[in-house]
């Protein structure tokens, strides 16, 4: 080692661990996916076992694929590429391993709790509050380790991949923490602090941006590092990559409400979500083209190199999925697609094509380098590619056909809109059943391909030995550099202050009343002229603010954080500051009785929201099929909201009173006895498990804290009142010939189902 150089050995061991964890959890997560796809086609595959039932396993599948499969892959890619891009070893071995084992512990905890029905029912955020806290803590460990590594770097400039990683690292905890704000009622249960439409907005602000900042931005960072490496040429346009980054950071966070079109969410928010989603077309396709054009002059390699093959297909799927996403967020198209399998097909083209194929490309490139050997079999990798590609095409094509078919059938009316063309929901289900079989084939092919990759990588690993990357870098210089930028200097400097002032005055000019408009216009001219004069005389001292910003991770991170926060705040603040007792559109929900509340918690535990929505859209077909369309006031006491996102079964919002108790009693025991042709699982355990009335006082107390108008004495009296109501329902069921026991969970669930849609009409009251 020369005197002015030091040798760095990268920590590649943890990358190897994350790689292996990705493969293990990927097999499990996708295996569960094929199982639940089978359950949708063959209800018998639920095996009448609570922890093997579709509604409990579907959250396990989504969480395993997102957080276990893509999460571990992302950490492998970030740790491997960041060390090389900043020429520094990971800052702390302790934090690195705490991160790795902490994350695996979270996954194991999720794999145990979700099948047991310990769920918050918020999609991709189902984990109960103690695990949620650990997720946040481990993410902070990851963030400290990452930024500490950046602080020790030997490369001053931050490559664009690092920007994408920073956006991920700062945004995910913001989303996760806000969506996990809740009041615990026990170690395993809590109620979210937001309810009804507010909870829905928070959830899909989180849900959409989990897709953006967990499944997209880190993988884009990985694309910008590994694709040039695999193609052996720099990214096509570095400028375009920066435009890509800032566009996503500024736009993505606003688009969440497109998940709630035609619901009780205010119209301006729905339009906001739609418009920002459509805007995402441009940067997403810019990014895709930048990736594909990186292969200029190297396309011949794609024919023989499986790494590039996977990258090209992965980036193409990124383009296809990011075309389809905004398309589905356009209200007229969403009217057809929402709640159908079209959305499922869209999600899987992104997850399997973008995330899955980018993982494959990265690992086929990475594994031989991490174990100092050659890939065991290129032929097997090619087989993996074609099986996976066929699997995705079968899957997505089946879901498109299924979604459009069911969407059209469910909305179709006859007699000039007076009646439904297909009044039976099951009729629509039977017509799409062939597509469900095809989905199993598609998912199965993809899983076989993934298994081949696991085998190929395992043989590769066995044929080599663990090697770490080593490089020489110049020793760090202690003296100040012209590119240093303090935190204060980031904001308290002339160009930033002038820009901010000018934009505030522009707002006053555009949005103010007469006096404010005039004043703003005058001040705008004065400030603009002042800024020009200042720049002419002392502009040389303003000095490269933007260039310095790019080379300083802390100011850059804070600005990125501000950019994503603004997009969230503009949606959330107006919604949470509105008076929910007044903004009810003429109806106000009647609070649940204690028995109905505990029944609702059983509904949440069983994951009914996975197949049944509770939000009727203002369409003729839906009103005819399900009843009066849903309004804001219908949900003000719903903690958490249960709108769902997919209708494998019918909407339940106006289910209350539609059928007698005995119908529900028989339906939950054997859905086909009341609905021939249904694919709903049976829930026999609800008839033997006893309702836990003892939890009620703490839950009623939490509800009172959240603003539900329960009288204080109900806290202690709730178990007795719940038992009384259960006895009444059970007696009625026995009269109808059922063998009903008042202490069992089915009675509480029936009480809840019969309450659905019960609201008082304030307009009639006023009159």
């Amino acid at each position: 080692m020369s005197s002015d150089k030091i040798t760095i050995e990268y920590n590649d061991t943890v990358v190897r661990y994350f790689l292996i964890a990705t493969m293990v959890w990927g097999l499990i997560g996708m295996g569960v996916g094929v199982l639940i796809a089978t359950q949708l086609a063959f209800w018998q595959a639920n095996m009448e076992t609570s922890w093997l039932t579709f509604s409990r396993l579907r959250p396990l599948h989504t969480n395993a694929v997102i957080f276990a499969f893509v999460g571990n892959m992302m950490f492998a890619g970030i740790y491997h590429s960041t060390q090389r891009l900043v020429r520094a070893r990971l800052a702390s071995n302790f934090l690195t391993w705490l991160h790795f084992w902490g994350w695996q512990g979270i996954i194991v905890a999720a794999a145990i709790t979700l099948p047991l029905g310990l769920s918050r029912s918020k999609e991709y955020a189902e984990l109960i509050w103690p695990i949620g806290i650990v997720v946040a803590l481990i993410w902070i460990v990851f963030a400290i380790n990452f930024f500490w590594t950046l602080a020790r770097r030997h490369e001053r400039s931050l490559y664009v991949a690092i920007w994408f990683y920073i956006a991920t690292i700062v945004t995910v905890p913001v989303l996760y923490i806000v969506n996990n704000l809740q009041i615990p009622t026990s170690l395993l249960h809590a109620y979210p602090i937001f309810g009804g439409v507010q909870d829905a907005l928070i959830q899909w602000w989180y849900g959409h941006n989990a897709v953006a900042f967990f499944l997209t931005t880190p993988i884009l960072g990985i694309m910008y590092y590994y694709l040039p490496k695999a193609a052996d040429r720099p990214v096509y346009s570095y400028r375009l990559s920066i435009v890509h980054f800032w566009s996503l950071v500024f736009i993505y966070i606003w688009a969440g409400p497109h998940h709630l079109l035609y619901t009780g969410l205010p119209n301006w928010l729905q339009s906001l979500g739609m418009l920002f989603s459509v805007m995402l077309w441009a940067p997403s396709w810019g990014g895709m083209l930048n990736g594909l054009l990186t292969l200029r002059g190297a396309w011949h390699k794609v024919r023989t190199d499986p790494v590039l093959k996977f990258f090209v297909a992965g980036v193409t799927f990124y383009g296809m999925a990011t075309f389809e996403g905004p398309l589905l967020s356009i209200k007229t198209i969403n009217a057809l697609s929402h709640y159908t399998d079209w959305t499922i097909g869209h999600v899987h083209s992104a997850a399997l094509g973008w995330n899955g194929f980018m993982t494959a490309g990265m690992f086929y490139w990475l594994a031989p380098r991490l174990w100092g050997t050659r890939l065991y079999s290129v032929a097997l990798a090619n087989w993996h590619f074609w099986l996976g590609l066929m699997g995705i095409l079968f899957y997505t094509a089946a879901m498109w056909v299924s979604g459009i078919t069911q969407g059209l059938m469910l909305n179709a009316t006859s007699d000039g809109g007076a009646s439904l063309a297909y009044p039976s929901f099951v009729e629509t289900l039977e017509s799409i059943m062939p597509m469900y079989y095809l989905r199993i084939v598609g998912g199965g092919l993809y899983l076989v391909g993934f298994f081949l990759m696991s085998y190929n990588l395992w043989k590769t690993i066995r044929s080599g030995e663990q090697v770490n990357g080593v490089t020489e870098v110049p020793a760090r210089q202690a003296e100040e550099n012209e590119y240093d930028l303090s935190l204060g200097g980031t904001f308290a400097n002339a160009p930033v202050m002038y820009s901010f002032g000018l934009m505030i005055l522009v707002c006053g000019w555009i949005f103010g009343n007469d006096a404010v408009v005039f004043l703003s216009l005058v001040l705008l001219v004065v400030l603009f002229v002042g800024a020009l004069i200042h720049f002419q005389t002392r502009g040389h001292l303003w000095g490269n603010w933007y260039e310095r910003l790019q080379a300083n991770s802390l100011p850059f991170t804070i600005l990125t954080l501000i950019a994503i926060l603004v997009g969230g705040v503009v949606q959330i603040v107006p919604m949470v500051t509105m008076n929910r007792a007044e903004a009810v559109e003429g109806v106000r929900q009647i609070p649940y009785t204690p028995l109905e509340l505990v029944g609702r918690d059983i509904y949440v535990r069983e994951g009914c929201y996975n197949c049944h929505s509770q939000s009727i859209r203002p369409f003729q077909g839906e009103v005819l099929r399900y009843g009066e369309y849903s309004k804001l006031g219908d949900f003000i006491y719903d903690y958490p909201f249960q709108w769902g996102s997919k209708r494998t079964g019918p909407d339940l919002h106006r289910q209350g009173g539609k059928y007698p108790d005995i119908w529900h009693f028989q339906h939950m025991k054997d859905a086909r006895s009341t609905s021939p042709g249904s694919n709903m699982p049976n829930y026999p355990w609800l008839y033997t498990r006893e309702t836990d009335f003892g939890v009620l006082p703490s839950r009623i107390r939490a509800m009172r804290t959240l603003g539900v108008p329960y009288p204080e004495n109900l806290v202690e009296e709730s178990p007795a009142k719940a038992r009384d109501q259960a006895r009444e329902i059970a007696e009625g069921l026995r009269d109808a010939g059922a063998d009903a026991d008042a202490s069992t969970e089915i009675i509480a669930l029936i009480a809840y189902l019969q309450k659905l849609g019960a609201s008082e009409n304030l307009n009639e009251t006023d009159e």
Binding site: Y238, R239, G372, F500, V569, V570
Partner: protein, 64 residues
Amino acid sequence: MLSRVVYDNFQLLFPMIAFVLIAGGFLFFLFKAIFMRKKKADRLSSLPFDEKEKSRPKKSKTDE
């Protein structure tokens, strides 16, 4: 029948002002990215390529 809730003025104004501010910031970054000097763009795009990197067998427990 299908009317939705109308917000107070500040609730309409809030997202609009935020949008102008964020759009201003975005356009600034866009401008700076588009007009980045070629020399600098070329240097930054070459960062993933470190010709000096070598591999060596992992020593037992040294990086644990």
